[in-house]
Structures are given as structure tokens and as C-alpha cells.
Symmetry: D2
Subunit: 378 residues, 4 copies
């Protein structure tokens, strides 16, 4: 008799294949789920393998569009970066996959969920926190020793020495900038509510306007120019440091474009508060708390801040870099006349002097500034 | 009879030359001061010009070394960036120049200080706040209409339209990445207390070790590879937005290297707090409050956080980009054994499960997680 | 011929009466506006006086209900306290009065607004920032020397010495606790969306349910028991310190009740973020930025956080103190079963141990904890 | 043969007595340690009991003076309050006891530490995090089911219903304000570096000057007047809410006095930053992270901020309340002349107008303020 049904987040690799077999041996019915979040994978082969290994049902779903719209876009609005550098590509995929995993488990009446993430990484935490939040009565079994074996790879071994340089052939999504095109591509990205609604390739004349198309196209262009490679040591949720190498071509382009249009259209002080909320958002997402009251609250606040973040940013992409060229917006708070050095307008220079002297009252203590006397002299 | 003595921050340009003449006409004795903060200028010619125009005394001082050590290094320790992008190159030069200006005014018994910064920019604020803080009884006269004329240039006119692309020949310190070398330079930067103490050019075999030499060399290398160009719209202290184009080759390299060695050697939670202090520091400096009790307090705290920030970072510089290659440190908090997937060590995977379930207690409300039951099953 | 029309925020006192006369003498038409924000005043007498002094029109409006609903309630939701103690009673009245003042000025076609607040206080700033935000093209003339005379009082003179104790007969709204009743009053305050919707006097059996009635009743009860007196030195926006004595009976009761029901019904981490926003809100309001993009943004976020802040708080009021007795809520996040020491329930003590050991991984560096070994022993 | 030596934090109560017996039965040698942190206890009887039950050694130590100086004083400097109300009395005692516990364990060569704190409270976490931080290789066994029984008490049972009022006879340290003296006591507390160095009872003429004497005397006076009772629902580290009733007479008096002298002597903007650090400190201490790099860093920063926090505060204590009467300090930043309405001095009212208009530039968008025109009119 079956001990119950497990939905297994299946990757098609050695690791989760081992878990599948082991769960069967322990007496469970196993349903595998493989999410297409844009990874380069032979989904047909993975399906066949799972069936061969005894999966009762095999689900493969393309969640790319919802990944872009429901997870990447909010992160972009937040300018989400962990520890000043990491764009959280893995951390935001986990709640997307977990949501679908829970949906299947509920629909199929499964009492258990399993995955291949190891106990030392953040991914176990992200997966399990998401599952507990969405399906509190589910059981997520502790990972087994075996699962450790799956994540070992030649690359990992070398990279664990933080001094060791990454091998040149490590990267999959991005060209080596040394081999990338010798002339720049120029793009115009249009935003509304802080998310891109259109990308125009200025030289080619082509344009993309669905979220998935926009993101895929930026990955293509960014990847071709070697954009978005970083090598960092980061702090995991559980406190230990780990070395990570990431490549995020499309996300890097969008982050720079969003930063530009945001500062162009958002009030200075609103942005200061929003900047703090964005840092908080990044930590929450990194640590696995996408589905939490506080992350929902922060997303609501950030979303509110994006109401007027719209307009077009022009940028060039070249040899690993993204250069902002110009921007325009119907919601611009930039006042060309006020900023001009030619036109005096309504701005009274005496006001600036008063502003400065008042700000200096506190600085000059304990001898108070006698600045007002200078008024008589000039 | 003289109305008093003014120390004028003299640039040698049309603007401050006009102020010099005007102050003389108003009946003041004028002492000019020209600080060498590394700008490209004919100091001899400027001296001659000031004397010809009637300056009573002419001072020119090389403050480059103190600029690097007393102002750039603290900003680097803070990872100081304004609004996520601007490295504050102008903002930290002002308090350096103002300090010397006040020193001369006090020594020469001058009652007045004057400068050519205009009323709409941040620089008037930075100059005057610094002067009032250091020399409360000094008088800084309001800027005149004429001063406006000095800052108008062909470039400014065009750039005021935020949509207009910057002309290719605008940049002085950095090569266009399209024309920069086709092979990377590799550097090793060594830090102690969060500031660089040595730079080695790995290919050339050369090395630099005084602060000024280190910074100058990084400017040279970074400039040659087109590193550190940005085009942003920023929020001035007084609320209006302005478009700025900056090039910061050496500073950009150091920021990336410092971020790397800092995360490698600093405790995760200390860094989170320090990150907030760094954002505060950046705002204070941008707004002109270098000489304020709060900025002094923040610098003290940040300096404390840098005690263990030491080690070597290897990086390559290529086509406008800075790539981190590896790092090592005697103060590393990176635990290679703990992080390894091979070695189990003292890290108990059950602990991770407990950690996750406790974190999920709050998320699963109002239906409390029945996760403990799963213990029996697996 | 008239130089234009001024709407004067008129208090009926010597100060604004002087301004009225002076404005007339300068050739302006003057409209006076006197807002009833709950102060103890003979409004009929003030009206007669203004007319006698030559006001062209005299407006008196009761803005008490909108003061409570539009200004006090948002401050309550924020738990707004400036510098840990001041409940911002003055700071939130200013934007309420200024809104009405601007409404009248626009309706009557007045080009000028005037008030009697002095240049050293925060009130000038609050008034003028509110007016400029709501009516950018209005002109607010600089205050005159005469206006200074209005705020001088025997009390002020004494209190300016921060060491001097306040005289016993200073207070108007609150009884001296030494003379207050010798038995407590017990109240039950019901909240919804973070604002009170009902107050029941448990002993008397009476209840109040409109915002104005609720606040007035709490002032009455609090005042009778001497609640809400503070003597503080505070930091004004412009940097100088000033000594202030405040009495806020109803506000103090509500703050304590709101803190209680909020923590009872709001998620821990949401509340942490909201606490930071509340501190920001307090600073903005204190400094006069009620009508600013950032204050509007913060109010929106805080309001969102209050969605589930509902329930009843019981408290006793006695001799200057407010004691929380108990609370209940349909939205309570308090889990009586989980918290009980009797019932084990679904909470696994092993999880807590794992949670602790994972948290300690970082603390034990550089000698990693060998805590997992202890598992075998017990 | 012994399985090893355990140092047990012994309370003399039923709970830890059970643990002592159980540990003996399991084959361990048990050393008991009872810390005198000022609780009301018969230490002689506890010693006898431990010996009777088979403790190999019995240590009792008076740690009151170091508790006040090393733990209460830093919390006071931070104005440490958890969730706006709780003064952290328990949370700061744990690291004090744990430090001594570890000292004994190291000295006696014990491999194990045990305590009676239960798995649902914060105290288990605080104890164990402190022990792991100070003695990484120690083993702290998971608590047993039995330990649960110890903490059940009649009071707890009732209080777990958050609506239930606390019984009148619950409190031990503080008199019911209804029964407290009908006349106030007046105290003068002198601070240096942000900690009290002297208390004078103004009516009695007595004074205290050692840390322990000061704190004990304030507990006596505060307790006699019923100061410091609170009834709150708080958020535990592990996410669940719990209802707590606390009485903190001396701590409440000191918090109010410290807030007063701090604002009197500390720069406004330094205090804003320090306020954020104080909130962080409170969370860290509440959660058990006293011995952590981040808490050490925050303590260092807070301590730096207290350099000029000195002077005398006069206050009256009456019927549960603490009233500030006045303050004086050689380091006062309060400028009596500047604040006075009588004296104009060096403060130019025009500066305030300029200050306000500059602050309003941003608020009036998109129609820029034409405020400068008003200059001509008045």
C-alpha cells in the first residue's frame, strides 16, 4: 500500500532522478513536475526518463510568461539587488516554481512535496518557505545525503576556492566580451508603471512588446554583447559566505534602464523611501520570503511608487556594458527651464543663500554664524 | 580704504576672473586661491592672470594627496554612491578645497570668502556649508548674476535636454570603449582597513603604493579602457532634477574591488547595517554636509566597520568594464570546508529543516503548519 | 488703489490684530480667517474685533471634524511621535488650517496669504510649505518684526531656561494628577482599519462613535485624570533646539491603545517595516511636509498596513497614566494554543534547536560550531 | 563511567531540579550555577537543594554589579525598547548569565551546558546563541518534554487569554498606583557618557553613585510609586505572538531621564541616525544576538554617540508616572539666546523665508512657485 503521494520538483538530472527512485522504494507514489522557466533543456527526454523511472504522472509546464510578469517585473520595479550586486535570478524563480508545485499537489491530492535542493544552499529555504506559505499542511521531507551528490560538478569544485579565476568556458548565456561584436546595438525601452512595455532595436527597426518577448530579446542582445557577468562572494541566509558566478544579460540592461527612467519621473524623497523598501525587498526575496505578509506589503508599496514611472530610455549595448544615451517622459519631473543657466525665471538666488545659512545654523555651534551681517555688505 | 579682504576660490577661467575684478571695484582686497585637485590646468598661466587682474596675493596649492587620503578613501570605505549611480567626485572635492580656503582666510585675516559656484547647483551649498562649519564667523557673499555666465558652455546647453545624446568628444579622462585596447589589463589591488595600499599591474609587473600613486594609476588604466562613464538625471539638494554626465575611471575600479573584499571579510549583519550608513553618508556628502556632526559620526562608524577589510582582489579591465576574477584574505570569513558540497562536516542538515520550519510558523497563519508530523514519516 | 487681497490666518490676539492693521496701512484688502480647531476661544468676539479693525470679510469655520478624521487619524495609524516623545499636536493642525486658508484664498481671488507665526519656529515653515504646495502661485510675505511680539508671554520667558520647572498653573487641558480623581475610569476602545470607531465608558455605560465625539470624550477623560503632559527639549527643523511643554490627553490614550491593537493584529515583519515608515512620517509632519509626494506615499503605505488593525482594547485611566488591561480581535494573529505551555500541538521542539544552531553558524566563527555532535548524545 | 560534565543554569525551582535529577540518571556529572541578578530568592536554600539532589559542585555568584554596568547601561544608552514598549529586562539578563555559565564551563572543563528555558520562548534562543557565540565547541542539549512542566503556573494559564485582565496581586516589584504615596518624590539624575553617575533624592537629601546603588535606589523609588507596569502582546523571534506583563520601575525612570538629557546634548541629525541604531540594537538583544559581530558594532557606534551626553535631569515620580521638570548640562547644544523671541541676534528672518521657498521648489511642481516676486511687495 502506498504511503502517500509526493510531487517531486524534477530536473531530469541525476540528482532528482535518484530521489524519484528512492521515494518509490520507500513506498510513495511519485508525480514529477518540471517547470520550463527558460532553461536550456530537452523536456521530451526528461519526460521519458521520469516515466521510465516509475513516475505515476509527469507534468511539464511552460511558466516563462508568468515568471517574467509576476516575478521579474516586481523585482525590476524594486531595482532589486542583493548585497549591491546580485540580481536575484535564482531567488525569484523559486517562488514561481513552488507556486505551480503547490497547485499540482493540491489538485492531485498529494500530501508531500520534494525537491533536490541541498541543505547548505538558500534554495532549500526558498522552496520550503514558499511551499509552507502556500500549502501549510503539506509535508516537505528533509533532504537526503544522496541529494548532495547531484549538485557536485567540476565547476563547483574549482570555484569553491574564492581566489581561483572562473574558467573562460563557464558561461552559457553570454559571449565573452573579447569575442562580442565590435559595434554597439542601440535600443529604446519604453516603460509604464515601472515595467517595460516595448523594446525597439533602433538599428534593426524591430520591436517587441509582450513581457516574455521583451525579456527574451534583451537576453539575446545582452548575451551577444557579453552583458551581466559577475563573480561575487555573497552571504547566504544561514550566515555562511559562498562564492557565486552569475550572468544576467537581460536583467542587467533592464535594471539600468529602470534606474534611469525612475529617477527621471519619481520625486526625490519618494525615491529615497522607495530605495529603502527595495533593499528590504531584495533581502526578503533572497532569503525565500516572497510569500510572506511583509513581502506582499513591500510589493504593494513599491508598486504604488511606480505609478508615474513611464517614458522611453535610449541605450547602447557594447562589450559587456550598457550605456544610457538619453530619456524622455510625459511624466518627467525634470524642469528644463528651471535647470537652465541662461534663464533666471522665478528662482531667486537670495533664497538659496537663506537656505544655506539656515542649514548652517546647526553646523556652526557653539559659535553661532553671524552670516546675516554680510547682507549689508553686498 | 579697503572694505576688507576676500579669499576667492579662483579657477583661472572667465567666471572667477570677472568676480575678481568686480570685488576690486567694490573696494575689497582680493587674495586668490587655486587648488590643484588633479584637474588639467596651466597653473602658471592662472597665477599670472590673477596677478594681472589685481589680486593682492595668489596662492596655488597641490592638495591631491590629501584629497585622495582624507576624502576619496572614506568615500570608498562607504561604497558611497548617490542615487545608486553617481560616485560623488565633485561632492567630495568641495570640502577639501573649502578646508584649504578657510585655512588661508584665517591665516591672512580675511573676513570674506567668495567662489564662482552658481545658485542653482549643489556646489554653492557644498562650498558655503563647509565654510560656515569650519569658519562660522566668515561671510560668504551671495553670488552675482555675472557668475551665471561662467558656467554656460556649448556642451551644457545641449545636455540640458535630457533626451539629447552626449557628443562623442565630450569626455576628457576616458577613451571611448570603441577605441580602447582590444586586450584586457589585469590588476591586483591590496586593501587594509578598507582602503587600497597597493596596486600591482599583473601583466606589466609594475606596482604603486602611495595613495596618490594608486589612484592616479587606476585613473590611467581605467581611462585607457573607457571605464566609469555614466549619464544620469539626479536630484539636487534643493529639489530640482538635473542631468549630469560623469566619468570616474579609478573610482569605479576601486568601488568594485572594495565591494568584493568587503563582502569577503565582513560579517553579513554588520554589512547590512553598514550599507545603511553608507547610503546616509552618500546623501550627506552630496548635500554638502561633510563637516557636520552626523557625517563625522557616520565616518567614525564606517571606519570601525572596516577594521578587517583587508586582502587582495584580482580584476581585469576591458572595454569599459571591470571584472572581478578572484580574491584572498587573511581575514576571510569564507569557510571553504563548510561551503563545500562534498564534505558534510559539522553542519547538520536536520538543523536546516528546523530553521526553515520555525521561519515558516509565521507564514502559514492562520492555519498553523503541521510540519512536525512529517518527522515521523521520513 | 488696493495693492491686492490678503487672506490672514487670524487668531483674535494682539499679534494678528497688529498684522491686520499694518496690512491695511500698506494698502491691502484683508480677509481674515479663523479656524476652530478646538481651541478655547470666544469666536464671536474675535469676529467683532476683526471687523472693527477693518477686515473686508471675516470667515470663521469649524474644522474640528475634518481635523480629527483627515489629520489626527492618519497620525494615529502611524503611531506618530517626534523624537520618541512629542505627539505632533501642533504640526498636524497647520496643514489642516492651511488647506482651508488656501481654499478661501482661491475662492476669493486673493493673491496673498499671511499668518502670525514667527521666523524662528517650525510653524512658519509648516504654514508656508503647505500654502506653496497647495497654491504654488500664492505669495506668503515674510513675517514682520511686530509678529515677534505676539508669541512673547510670561510663560515663554521662564520656560526658555531649560532648567526652570514649569509653573503648576500652566496647563489648560489637563488636571494636575495630584488633584485628579482617586479612582480609575475604564474604557473600551474599538478600532477598525487602525482608527477608533467607538469608545465605551465601561463604568458609566456611555459610548461615543463619531470621530469628533470619540476624540473629544477621550480629551475629557484624559484631561480629568491628568494624562499626556510632557516637558521636552526638541530639535526644530532649522536645527536649533527649543524647549516645549505639551499636554495631549486624548492623543496619549489613543496612541497606547493603537499600539496595543496593532501589535495584536499585525504581522511582526510588516510592523517592523511600518515602524520605520511611521518614524519617517513623524519627521515629515514635524518639518511641515504634510502636502508632499513623499508624505502622501508614506500615508498610502501606512494605510495599507492598517487593513487588519481592528478589535477592542480595554484600558484604565488613572493619575496621569494609561494602563492596558486586555484586548480581543476577530483579526487576531495571537494563537492561544500555540503559545500555551500545556499543549504541545504541532510545534516541534527539535525545530527550535535547529533554528538556533543555524543562527549560531555565523556567530561561532572562526571556530565552526560542532553542535551537531550533541544530537547523538541526548 | 560519566558521560561528561554538564553545567546547569539552576534556578532552585521544580523545573531545573527535575533536569538535575534527569541528567544524573542519564550518567552525567552535574555542576549547578545560580546567578544572583537581583531576583528575590533564598540562595542558601537553593544551594542545599542542589547538593541534596546530587550536584557535584554548586556555584552561586552575585553578578548584579556587572549586570548593571555591562548590560543595563548599554541598553540605556540605546534607549532600547522592543516594539515601542518593552524595556528588554529579560533579554539583557540572559547574555549576562550565559557569560558566567560559559566561564564556569570552560574553567571546570565541562563539555555541556543545560538550562530550563522552554522551546517556545525566546529564552532558549538567547541562552543558546550566547553560549554558542562564547564557547563554540560546547554542546547545549535540546530541552526535554519535562522542562515544559516547570514553566506552567496559575498566572500563566490565565494570562494566555489576551482579553483577560491581569490579577491585581500579580506584581512583585511595584505597588499598585492606587496604593502608592499621595505626594511625589523628586530626583536629580546626573549623566556622563550617557549613563547615570549619580542620583540625588532632592527631598531626602540622600544620594547614590555606584551603578548598582543607583539602579537599586531607582527600583525602590519607582516601585514605591508604581512606575513601569506594562501589559503587551509582543512578537517572539520565532514569529508567534505572546502576551507579556512586565514591571520595570528603575529602568522606566532612567529611560525617560536619558531621552531628555540625550536630546538636550546631542546633535539633531546624529540622534536620528542613532535612533535607527537603537531600534536595531533592541531587536538584536530581544532575539538573543548580544554576542554577535553586528551587536558589538552597534554598541560601539552607540557608545560613540554618547560622548557628550552629560548633565543633570530633575524629575518627579508620582502615581506610576515620571515627569521631567528641568535639565542642565555643560555640553548643552541649547542656545537660549538664539531661541528667545525677544532677542533678534544674528538670525536673519529673510534666511528662513529663503529656506522655506527652496524647500517648496519640489512641492509646487509642475507649476513652479513664483514666490520670489513677493520680495518686492513687502
Amino acid at each position: 500500500m502506498s504511503k502517500g503521494t509526493v510531487v517531486l520538483a524534477y530536473s531530469g538530472g541525476l540528482d532528482t532522478s535518484c530521489i524519484l527512485v528512492w521515494l518509490k522504494e520507500q513506498g510513495y507514489d511519485v508525480i514529477t513536475f518540471l517547470a520550463n522557466v527558460g532553461q536550456d533543456e530537452d523536456f521530451k527526454a526528461a519526460k521519458d526518463k521520469a516515466e521510465t523511472l516509475g513516475a505515476k504522472k509527469v507534468f511539464i509546464e511552460d511558466v516563462r510568461a508568468e515568471f517574467v510578469e509576476d516575478f521579474i517585473w516586481p523585482a525590476l520595479q524594486a531595482n532589486a539587488i542583493y548585497e549591491d550586486r546580485y540580481l536575484l535570478g535564482t531567488a525569484i524563480a523559486r517562488p514561481c516554481i513552488a507556486r505551480k508545485l503547490v497547485e499540482i499537489a493540491r489538485r492531485e491530492g498529494a500530501q508531500f512535496i520534494s525537491h533536490g535542493a541541498t541543505g547548505k544552499g538558500n534554495d532549500q529555504i526558498r522552496f520550503e518557505l514558499s511551499c509552507y506559505a502556500l500549502y501549510p499542511e503539506v509535508k516537505v521531507p528533509p533532504w537526503s545525503m544522496d541529494a548532495n551528490l547531484m549538485h557536485i560538478s567540476y565547476e563547483s569544485g574549482i570555484l569553491e576556492n574564492p581566489k581561483q579565476h572562473a574558467p573562460a568556458d563557464l558561461y552559457m548565456m553570454t559571449k565573452n566580451p573579447e569575442d562580442s561584436p565590435n559595434s554597439a546595438d542601440v535600443l529604446e525601452i519604453e516603460f509604464k508603471n515601472g515595467v517595460p512595455i516595448k523594446v525597439v532595436d533602433v538599428k534593426q527597426g524591430t520591436s517587441k512588446s509582450s513581457p516574455l518577448d521583451i525579456f527574451s530579446y534583451l537576453n539575446l542582445i545582452g548575451g551577444n554583447h557579453g552583458v551581466g557577468r559577475i563573480d561575487i562572494v555573497e552571504n547566504r541566509f544561514i550566515g555562511m559566505k559562498s562564492r557565486g558566478i552569475y550572468e544576467t544579460p537581460g536583467g542587467t540592461i533592464l535594471l539600468k534602464a529602470h534606474l534611469d527612467i525612475e529617477t527621471f519621473t519619481m520625486d526625490k524623497e519618494v525615491r529615497r523611501i522607495k530605495q529603502g523598501l527595495g533593499i528590504k525587498f531584495s533581502e526578503l526575496v533572497y532569503n525565500g520570503f516572497w510569500y510572506s505578509p511583509e513581502c506582499e506589503f513591500v510589493r504593494h508599496c513599491i508598486n504604488k511608487s511606480q505609478e508615474n514611472v513611464e517614458g522611453k530610455v535610449q541605450l547602447s549595448i557594447f562589450k559587456g556594458q550598457v550605456y544610457i544615451l538619453g530619456r524622455e517622459s510625459p511624466k518627467s519631473l525634470y524642469n528644463e527651464e528651471l535647470v537652465s543657466m541662461d534663464v533666471q525665471g522665478d528662482y531667486d538666488p537670495c533664497d538659496a543663500s537663506g537656505f544655506i545659512r539656515i542649514n548652517a545654523v546647526r553646523l556652526a555651534s557653539p559659535q553661532p554664524a553671524q552670516s546675516s551681517l554680510s547682507m549689508e555688505l553686498f
